[in-house]
């Protein structure tokens, strides 16, 4: 028996789902079992990784003994851990949900792709060189496109195609930037790049290209055009993972690049990002309010919530690590809440046979657990206490007000009010008097509880901030010392 401190948790996080994906593909009969078991093992592995990180600090591992710059290096700090934990939490719920959601034929396709996606995501969060990030990002994107198209149908196929074109465009643009940076500094390792980088036109071009590619994938306004269609047309568990995890994956790369490469260079860029974020909040919330279809409403809400993440950039220079803690927290709570919302919306759609908001009352009243999940997740999205969303928003607002960015503060507050408007537009139907009709079909308990548990988790996050921030500080990802 190997002592648990010597188990290579980091490598397991990537290899386990990868092997399981292949197993599922070769042996479709075992797909569901393999998927569930792998997810549980992954949870254990993230726990082990967290424990290891807490004991030993920064995680660094050269794959196959090849040191950087030639080999591939794995790298993990508090921020990576947060992303891995987020993936596992959302992943557990999606696994629970998908177990009942897909029929046998779809399940044969779903499980290998889903496990592959998990492997790619985990690899992405443990990568620290810009080329490896490209590869993992592309793997994530391709697996996701296939998942969007999984159920077929015109909307889903069109959405998948649009998503594929956007994602390829984004990653090629990013790769062009990588090429330019490599040319200038002869390395793709983030740490080495941070040491060597200087202020030259090529660097600006490279960072501009990489940034643009990533922002397209993150769907920051006005590059969000592909998101609502893709997120709304996919099957419910896929929508959940797109909105909760995928958007965060490209944001995570952007944040990493920003922290070590961009931040010292661009104050005006930060302001521009902040303004785009502010417009995204207003535009996304407004569009969400106008939607007549539930899933589109939730998708536009994602556009708005991404805006919050970017509003932080102009504030970061003066506010320091605590602000990035807030952004990370917002990212985590949005992931949990938005996944819960999409899963709940999926239940309502399945039960009612449609997702026209104006005719939802019957479904909303017959599925109290899903409705409760939607409402609780909504609380976190609105940023009303007690919830994880509130903690994140508090830190952002505090920084904005302290530094006198009144416009950004006002936008954040108005965004919260608009969010409450579009969420209560749906939740309000729980209280009308619908005509009672016999039950057409019931929703499996696992699917309802998957949504509710995620939503409860997003509320409970309101009470765990100091503890999470302590973990986030491992390896000092945001500079300026541990909080």
């Amino acid at each position: 028996m190997v002592p648990s401190s010597e188990i290579p948790w980091g490598a397991l996080l990537i290899l386990l789902p990868l092997a399981a994906a292949i197993l599922c593909f070769v042996w479709p009969k075992l797909a569901v079992v393999t998927g569930v078991v792998t997810m549980l093992l992954l949870t254990l592995a993230v726990g082990g990784f967290a424990w290891q990180l807490q004991r030993e600090g920064l995680y660094q591992h050269a794959v196959g003994g090849w040191e950087t710059p030639l080999g591939i290096g794995l790298y993990g700090d508090g921020l990576s851990l947060l992303m891995l934990a987020m993936t596992v939490l959302v992943g557990l719920a999606i696994t629970l949900y998908a177990r009942s959601y897909f029929n046998q034929k779809q399940a044969r396709v779903f499980w290998p792709l889903w496990l592959l996606l998990l492997a790619a995501l985990n690899a992405l969060f443990l990568s620290a060189d810009i080329f490896n990030l490209y590869i993992t990002l592309e793997m994530v994107g391709l697996a996701a496109v296939a998942l969007v198209a999984l159920k077929g149908g015109r909307d889903a196929l069109n959405g998948a195609m649009r998503y594929l074109l956007a994602t390829l465009l984004g990653s090629l643009t990013y790769l062009l930037g990588v090429a330019l940076l490599y040319h200038s500094y002869g390395t793709v390792d983030l740490v080495l790049l941070a040491e060597r980088i200087d202020n030259s036109p090529v660097v600006w071009a490279a960072l501009g290209l990489m940034g643009a590619g990533l922002l397209l994938k993150t769907a920051l306004f006005p590059l969000h055009f592909w998101l609502p269609a893709a997120h709304a047309s996919a099957p419910a568990p896929i929508s959940a993972l797109l909105s909760a995890l995928l958007v965060k994956a490209s944001f995570y790369i952007f944040l990493r690049l920003w922290l070590v490469l961009f931040a010292p260079l661009g104050g005006d860029v930060a302001l521009l990002l902040g303004l785009l974020g502010a417009v995204a909040i207003l535009w996304g919330s407004w569009q969400a309010l106008r939607q007549t279809r539930l899933k589109l409403l939730v998708a536009y809400s994602t556009v708005a919530q991404i805006g919050y993440l970017f509003v932080a950039f102009p504030l970061a220079a003066a506010a320091g690590a605590m602000l990035w803690n807030g952004v990370s927290y917002l990212m985590l709570s949005h992931a949990l809440a938005k996944a819960a919302m999409f899963l709940a919306a999926g239940n309502l759609l399945l039960f009612g046979g449609h997702d026209r908001i104006a005719e939802l009352d019957r479904a909303v009243q017959r599925l109290p657990i899903s409705t409760a999940a939607f409402a609780l997740a909504g609380v976190s999205i609105m940023g009303v206490p007690p919830s994880g969303g509130f903690i994140g928003k508090w830190l952002l607002l505090e920084a904005a007000i302290e530094q006198g960015y009144w416009l950004l503060a006002a936008v954040m507050v108005v965004g919260g009010l608009l969010a409450s408007a579009y969420i209560f537009k749906v939740v309000g139907y729980a209280f009308t008097r619908s005509t009672a009709t016999p039950e057409p079909q019931s929703i499996p308990m696992g699917m309802e509880w998957a949504a509710l548990l995620l939503a409860i988790a997003s509320i409970l996050l309101g009470f765990t901030a100091p503890w999470v921030f302590a973990l986030l500080g491992i390896g000092d990802p945001f500079g300026g010392g541990a909080p």
């Binding site: 710059p69 030639l70 080329f131 590869i135 592309e138 793997m139 391709l142 496109v145 296939a146 198209a149 077929g152 149908g153 015109r154 909307d155 196929l157 069109n158 998948a160 195609m161 649009r162 594929l164 074109l165 390829l168 465009l169 090629l172 790769l175 062009l176 090429a179 330019l180 490599y182 040319h183 002869g186 793709v188 047309s233």
Partner: protein, 102 residues
């Protein structure tokens, strides 16, 4: 003008050309081809920039990157083509449709 710079410029030119085609053409096959042209542009640039030092031996790392990149592009193209066929069957033409089902 040295060769490396020439190739680099051609690479960037291809990339831009592909981007333009991706935006203006509605036909999905043309869009997929455009993406491939963009990819080739980037790879050309990487190969050209591999000769960054004065030594006669070029840097091997970009070559490795290009090989990896080609693998990724092949996979992406295969996926895109399959998807295109399915989309074309649903839409009755190989273009994206704006209307939703209802």
């Amino acid at each position: 003008m040295n060769t490396a710079l020439l190739y680099s410029l051609v690479g960037i030119g291809l990339f831009s050309l592909g981007l333009y085609a991706l935006i203006v053409h509605a036909h999905l096959l043309r869009k997929i081809l455009a993406i491939n042209v963009m990819g080739s542009g980037v790879f050309l640039l990487l190969i050209a920039l591999a000769k960054r030092t004065a030594t006669p031996l070029p840097d091997a790392v970009p070559h490795a990157m290009v090989i990896t990149g080609i693998v990724v592009t092949v996979a992406a193209t295969a996926l895109a083509l399959t998807l295109m066929v399915r989309v074309a069957m649903e839409n009755h033409r190989a273009e994206l449709s704006d209307q939703s089902q209802e």
